[in-house]
Amino acid sequence: MNGFFDIPSDLQHSWAGLIGLHLRESLLPVAAGLLLALPLAQLCVRFRWLYPPVLGLTTVLYAIPSLAFFVVLIDYTGQTELTVMIPLAVYSLVVLVPAIVDGVRSVPEETLAAATAMGFGPVRRYLQVQLPIAAPAIMAGLRVATVSSISLVSVGALIGNQGALGNLLAAAQKYDRPELAVNAVLTMAVLAIVCDALLVGLRMLLTPWMPRGARPKAAARPEPLTAEGAAR
């Protein structure tokens, strides 16, 4: 593989620079999605009737292809990073809301009653009892959101060099250098796997009471995205 790391200069970034850009463009939206999903999921748990319509709406949003989402946004936000990050935040939200709702709902009634009896107020009960118990489910959702976000950023290359490592794919075609495409795919896959592993580590730190090695029950639900709600 000759010239594996010879990044064409019109990308205006080194390989490491592209990685930094890629991480920013993919992880910031997940963080934004999480910030939005936490209160939204809390509302859905509080008011049960709210959950089916929220799930239906998010499923429809998830069905819009990322490319179309990007292009439609160009009209409002121009060919900027923001245009790539908004749809990714929406997709993360779609994955995270059901994960958090399921996680928070899985907390046993007795546990909640015990916390209340110990004099926990609603806020403290939420932060110190419900969220920690829901942590495995939330982390499972975060893992899916993060990995798919990292892979979707590359589509941004189609709307004018906003795809970070994805721009390498466009360059690979333009200059007929397949090794650049190999570089892009491998780097993105490694980034995704590393971020995924970091999240698994974080989950272990956050849930010290869980047995090591055993897969959390929540991870057993493979695609927390489950369009399930829409069909219900």
Partner: protein
């Protein structure tokens, strides 16, 4: 002009409804790519998922493979496949199948795993063969979850099949990619709307399939 105006303009232009670049033609192409990719992915994912789920072996390996496959970017795979094997249907199918196999595989595995063991033991006690246990006891109970795995795979295929247009094939992505280069947002928005419609139709199809195929006794609600 907001998005709704674009949608209206696109669908009321009669030029968009005929010829080889017409909506019916593009829609049909998109359905064909999606069905083919789903069929291939199901042919790989379902048997492996059913078998590993039945025996209960290899669950961790499955999760590992599925995670690794999810880490591969579809668009990157597409460009790479085109550079390596040239234009055609095959390079489009590779990323779509890679995208769709993990959800089918993992959901099928988990669905069969999570079947209540007592009816399975009862069936075994009655002398049913393992293959009959799998298809007549476990599969019917696991069917709702198996279908939900197929459904999320199908939705992802439908929305990702738009990238076929990027490598000169047809489908609804044609409108999005062409519209982007022609600065014709009407076309882009129209294409995106059509994909979303197709995704909703897919959801409806799976809902109907669930109604027809899932035995009323196992239906959750």
């Amino acid at each position: 002009m907001n998005v709704l105006d674009f949608v209206h303009a696109f669908f009321s232009d009669s030029a968009h409804w005929q010829g080889y670049d017409g909506i019916p033609q593009r829609f049909w192409e998109h359905v064909q790519y999606s069905l083919l990719a789903l069929a291939v992915a199901a042919a790989i994912g379902l048997p492996v998922g059913l078998l590993t789920g039945h025996t209960g072996r290899g669950g961790n390996a499955l999760a590992l493979i599925a995670n690794a496959a999810r880490a591969l970017p579809s668009f990157g795979l597409l460009v790479l496949a085109v550079l390596l094997i040239g234009f055609g249907l095959l390079p489009v199918m590779i990323p779509l199948v890679v995208l769709a196999v993990p959800p089918i595989l993992v959901t099928t595995y988990e669905a069969v795993r999570s079947v209540d063991p007592s009816p399975v033991d009862a069936a075994r006690g009655m002398g049913m063969r393992e293959s009959r246990i799998l298809f007549q006891v476990e599969l019917p109970v696991a069917l709702p979850l198996v279908l939900s795995g197929l459904r999320s795979a199908a939705i992802q295929i439908v929305s990702t099949a738009t990238i076929a247009a990027y490598v000169s094939l047809g489908g609804l992505g044609r409108y999005i990619v062409d519209g982007l280069y022609q600065r014709d947002y009407e076309k882009v928005v129209g294409g995106a709307t059509l994909v979303a419609v197709l995704a909703l139709l897919t959801l409806a199809a799976f809902w109907a399939a669930g109604r027809l195929a899932v035995s009323p006794g196992v239906r959750r609600r």
